[in-house]
Symmetry: C2
Subunit: 296 residues, 2 copies
């Protein structure tokens, strides 16, 4: 019977730690760290995400700005806004909420962000630094996963970690982090994906499984070995008319069955999810220290 | 009995292709692509490497400059030289031969290079772009490996590729390239390294092994399965008093025994080695097209 990894609790703890640091800064007469978020259009889900980020800033004592631009905005104008934020001394870090409207080139926007303010860690320069084991901003989900492993004191050294999925924002970066020469690393990492043959062979051999597939209940008990650590990044809405919202959130793991075999498992919701905002706040505080205090 | 992958032949072929392209450029009245190489100090091995690169430039019709700076040069002065090369319009790409003297911070030098001229592909921005599947300069050894797989028409899709080693210049980048969504990719990739337990379990399961360990004759016949493809990046001098030089070059694979089981294998020397210079020339031509012709 697995220990349930409580992402909500850990993220609350991290926010407390950040709040304490901000209070210390303020008490010394400093200004609060400042995160800006750019939202193009009024997509419901994106608005919810951004609003949560802004609310969390308030919780920890950060200043935050929400820059909501019209859906029809021209790419050129959005790029000008990014240049403005790059140069704005009072903004320590900023994010551009994805996805962007189709008439805007996401890569171009991403590349326009000053890497020193890229608290999402999506800019190639920051991604490259992460991969090369240099100091940088690690993006929210992989950062959050590493924090969970750390806070639950899960040993990753010499373990076989199987990462399901090879996306730029989860699978790829976490596979690199788990494999790098570091205390929370040193795993033998296999990345499996849509083109993998005999995926079960790999998951059955894994000491740690990090799943970012987005297929609810995909990972069954017969696909994992006893004592496995399962980090479930999948989060899918599954229709459920018994619920007021009309759906439930499901992870990639068939939770009820695999939890009997796992040693640790993250639930969905309440596992990796809550960690992403905590990571963003950690990155923003770091950006403040580098860009404003210049302390690095 | 394996097919021997002839890196020397392929690299000669690539140089011919580049030479033809340069001749076309010149015949249209263009200037030749120009590679500059910075060498600090007079280390014998480094001097040999750089001289080979310069000689290859000549072979394909590139202009080349060797900038040999004294070992005692101050970091600041080296950085100024890099800035000069960044701004020099007649230089399309340049490399700084590693290792640098200990009083110089290699990361700092690396980060000072304009990514658009970084034909070694070592700058974090280029590494990040590679990892994020964007257009960029891929560094010489992984680029050379991909070329070999391509020219020998070796199918990587859905294969289990085991990469031995996680260095920034070979193991890490080739593991990413082999796993990415691309025709010469789509492998299920496992990275094994010094901290891996039961390495043999992984190599015995591999369809493709890319070894960059640097331990001569490490990979024995009992560690691989029938039909495996072996790309041997290891190259170590092993004492041999019967040879005029006093040594022979050995790869990571115990060549004579594994070649009986492998379907393809790269010899050492003459396998991956010769490809690295070809890759550097390919990158320089690309830099020329981007920076000078602006055609991308």
């Amino acid at each position: 019977m697995a220990i349930i990894i409580d992402g909500k609790k850990i993220s609350t703890l991290i926010k407390e730690e950040i709040k304490n640091q901000v209070e210390k800064i303020i008490s010394k007469g400093g200004r609060a760290p400042h995160l800006a978020a750019v939202l193009v259009g009024e997509d419901g889900a994106s608005l919810t995400y951004v609003s949560n980020k802004v609310a969390s800033c308030k919780q920890v004592g950060f200043k935050s700005s929400l820059i909501n631009l019209p859906y029809e905005i021209k790419e050129e104008k959005l790029l000008r806004e990014i240049t403005r934020l790059n140069n704005e001394k009072e903004v320590d870090g900023f994010i551009v909420q994805l996805p962007l409207p189709k008439h805007i080139d996401e890569d171009k926007v991403l590349l326009a962000i000053n890497p020193k303010k890229d608290v999402d860690g999506f800019h190639p320069t920051n991604f490259g630094k992460m991969a090369l084991n240099m100091e940088t901003f690690v993006s929210a989900t992989p950062y959050g996963i590493i924090e969970l492993l750390k806070r639950y004191d899960i040993d990753t050294n010499g373990k076989h970690t199987v990462v399901i999925g090879r996306s730029n924002i989860v699978g790829r970066p976490i596979s690199i982090l788990m494999s790098r020469k570091a205390k929370l690393g040193n795993s033998t990492v296999t990345v499996v994906h849509s083109r993998t043959k005999n995926l079960k062979f790999f998951t059955n051999n894994a000491d740690i499984i990090i799943s970012a597939l987005g297929v609810p209940n995909f990972l069954k008990a017969n696909m994992v070995k006893n004592g496995v650590v399962i980090i479930d990044v999948g989060i899918t809405r599954v229709k459920d008319l018994n619920k007021r919202k009309g759906y439930v959130l499901k992870g990639d793991a068939d939770f009820e069955s695999v939890k009997e075999k796992a040693s640790y498992i993250t639930p969905v919701p309440g596992g990796v999810g809550p960690m992403t905002i905590a990571s963003l706040l950690q990155n923003t505080l770091k950006a403040y220290k580098i860009n404003f205090e210049g302390s690095k």
